[in-house]
């Protein structure tokens, strides 16, 4: 079940990745993030959505506004039922890739957000939760 402040978007095509970016931007503005922070979190969302598409053949993302005292923020939860990541430490290293990319997707998005949590095991899919707080 989703509360009013939440939305769930599918990631099944390249077009969906663009939709995720647009929706994350809209919610980031709503959460009061600065232009630079909006750009950072949208870029991270783009990387993570593409990861779900390329490595797991698709997945979904939950977008929600979160609060912590007077600060508000944006939380994104990407989930997929793909093959999972055997070595998380390695996957978070700059330049490490199995998909022919630059290897900046995971490690780069981690630097673009304030909180980053990655849960995965082989055969059990991947769950990435990121949060960006307004300054």
């Amino acid at each position: 079940m989703t509360s009013p402040g939440e939305q769930l978007l599918p990631i099944n095509s390249n077009g969906d990745v663009v939709l995720v970016r647009q929706q994350v931007r809209a919610v980031a503005i709503q959460a009061g993030l600065s232009l630079v922070d909006q750009t950072k979190v949208v870029t991270a969302a783009s990387e993570l959505a593409r990861n779900a598409l390329v490595y797991a053949g698709g997945g979904q993302v939950k977008i929600e506004v979160v609060r912590n005292g007077v600060r508000s923020g944006l939380r994104l939860t990407f989930s997929d039922d793909g093959p999972g990541i055997p070595d998380i430490e390695q996957a978070l290293t700059d330049g490490w890739t199995t998909g022919g990319g630059l290897g900046l997707g995971l490690s780069g998005s981690r630097r673009l957000v304030d909180e980053f949590d990655l849960q995965s095991a082989p055969g059990e899919g991947t769950l990435v939760t990121v949060t960006k707080w307004s300054r």
């Binding site: 750009t39 950072k40 870029t43 783009s46 990387e47 593409r50 998005s109």
Partner: protein
Amino acid sequence: MERVPILKLGDILIVSIQIDLEDQSVLALQEDLADKIVATGARGVIIDITAVEIVDSFIGRMFATIASISRMLDAETVVVGMRPAVAITLVELGLSLGGVRTALNLEKGVALLNHLDGAQIAAARR
């Protein structure tokens, strides 16, 4: 999928990205540009990203690829109009865009290409 149009001005090709780039559009643009450079014998490529709100690693890599391809085809590439927020994000992401020339706006991009051209001619004369 939307295709990004390529404009020709003298011996410069100008690409102004006005849409939210899908990965497929990015790949198509790379191919279209290479074809067009060969077909027109262009000596310079300008990619205008004034309207682009985010550049992720995939789009960033396209710039580097286009620069390498066009250099191989004897054309220089300049990326112009990158927004401050996009530049800050790219630095944080860890993307350096090595080998890609940049300029603040279209006008300065054209000036840079002409300058590079002039320098080449001067070097050839020496």
